[in-house]
Symmetry: C2
DNA sequence: TTGACAGGACACCGTTTGGTGTCTTATTCT
DNA sequence: AGAATAAGACACCAAACGGTGTCCTGTCAA
């Protein structure tokens, strides 16, 4: 099983997730058509996403269809939400208030 | 400048960010002490974080002190929040409701 | 002033990554 | 039945990555 952070680190893989977000289910060749890179490369990216649990694939005739599974992204959301307080501008005001309180 | 997603993809770099979140400012040697890897490796990781704008460094005497700058993480938060609706269980109920409405 | 400490700057190395091309198999269409 | 399409399975490659060790230069303290 693969780390969800590194799965999402690649821009091509993020684009793949976005395509799947709009389409519910897509066959490999249809996705490949929207990229400059070849089929083999796209297959590899989808394999990485699958290892991270971000996509589910099933065979339908001669094509392999992929489906989004966003659940593992929760880990990233929770992780990043921890840092939320650091970019809120209110933090500066709070700092001042706390300093005043300590005096 | 470096992609914030790939900057955060490495677990060691995420740990570095967490250390800085607790400490406001830390010199290199103090961070190195908390890792198994050597100083050179830690320096490289901090360089990556700096390229992504996630840390700010300044020289103080013979030590280099690092400070967290979480702002670039907003991009990740916004990106991941787009997928939030996919893991909310209410989405299933909404789907059913929309289907009923279309009939 | 001499030694210890902090860290920049390299050179180096094995592994992973993102990509290619080719061959083969299974499925669909005519 | 025969052609075309979809995709798995390899082998291969250059570049990036994460790490090391070594050398050199400032800076602080005895």
């Amino acid at each position: 099983m693969r780390d969800v952070y590194s799965a999402v680190a690649d821009p091509t893989r993020r684009r793949l997730l976005h395509l799947l977000a709009d389409a519910d289910e897509l066959p490999l060749h249809e996705m490949t058509a929207r990229f400059r890179v070849g089929r083999t490369a796209v297959t590899k990216h989808l394999a990485v996403l699958k290892e991270a649990g971000l996509v589910i694939d099933r065979k339908a005739g001669r094509e392999t269809r992929y489906h989004l599974n966003a659940a593992p992204l929760r880990e990233i959301q929770e992780w990043v939400s921890f840092y939320e307080r650091f970019w809120t501008e209110r933090i500066d005001h709070l700092k001042v208030l706390l300093e005043e309180e300590n005096l």
